[in-house]
């Protein structure tokens, strides 16, 4: 329970969870669209399911997965930036020491 609370405090975990839920909702939309369209032999009845379920589901799935990729990449980039910041600080320390010696 404490672990879950700690994880929920991390905005990255929350955003990834929300995006995964949205992707699952997109897949569910496609499934519902398929089910609705398969239940009728009349094209004019099938089309609303295609639009709301399949097109809407595809849009939701693509959007959430795209945002998920961006989010994961930004997290990695932030970690890399933090590592690089340590290098910059070490170089600044070195410069300060060299100035002190001069």
């Amino acid at each position: 329970m404490t672990r879950l609370r700690a994880a929920l405090r991390d905005p990255y975990t929350v955003s990834v969870t929300v995006l995964v839920v949205l992707a699952a909702a997109g897949l569910a939309g496609i499934a519902i669209g398929w089910r609705g369209a398969a239940a009728s032999l009349v094209v004019s009845v099938q089309l609303p399911y295609v639009v709301s379920g399949v097109i809407g589901g595809l849009a939701l799935l693509g959007f959430s997965l795209g945002l998920l990729i961006i989010q994961v990449r930004r997290r990695r980039e932030a970690e890399r930036r933090a590592d690089f910041d340590r290098v910059v600080r070490a170089a600044a320390d070195l410069l300060a020491a060299a100035r002190g010696m001069a």
Binding site: V43, S44, L47, P48, V50, V51, S52, I55, G56, L58, A59, L60, G62, F63, G66, L67, I70, R73, R74, E77, R81, F84, D85, V87, V88, R89, A91, A92, D93, L94, L95, A96, A97, A98, R99, G100, M101, A102
Partner: protein, 142 residues
């Protein structure tokens, strides 16, 4: 203020300055030419505006899909439904993808600006370190 903080504060942190190509040892500029296009402030690399624009475009796409569904569900003839599918449904899907691409490009641009700033800081520190070491070695020779 510590020596490290003093050394860091003396470095360029301005976006434009940080984005300028690094000066090479013999005074030449790096091979990449500097782009001279002046973008408005809200479109510059570290602005969050493009991200919001991308999200707004994607939301507009979802709204279009909902409109398409509403119109298609209100018709009983396929030849009347198809124009809504194409003009609103597929266009909505396209808008969602366009919005996602805008968000992606904006995120990459922001990361690139931060990366360039860090790299420029490091180059400046190493340049000053080199000058300081040269100065101290000259002092020893005397």
């Amino acid at each position: 203020m510590s020596k490290t903080a003093t050394a860091l504060s003396s470095l360029p942190v301005d976006g434009d300055e940080a984005l300028a190509p690094a000066e090479l040892e013999d005074g030449r500029r790096s091979r990449l030419p500097r782009v001279s296009i002046r973008l408005p402030t809200w479109l510059k690399g570290n602005s969050p505006a493009p991200t919001f624009i991308g999200v707004a475009v994607a939301i507009a796409g979802f709204v279009l899909i909902m409109i398409a569904w509403g119109q298609v569900a209100g018709e009983t003839q396929v030849y009347l439904q198809m124009p809504y599918v194409i003009s609103a449904g597929l266009t909505g899907l396209a808008l969602v993808m366009v919005g996602l691409t805008i968000v992606n490009v904006a995120a990459k641009q922001r990361d690139a600006v931060d990366r360039d700033r860090q790299m420029d800081q490091l180059v400046s520190i190493l340049g000053e370190l080199k000058a300081s070491m040269e100065e101290s070695s000259k002092g020893r020779r005397r």
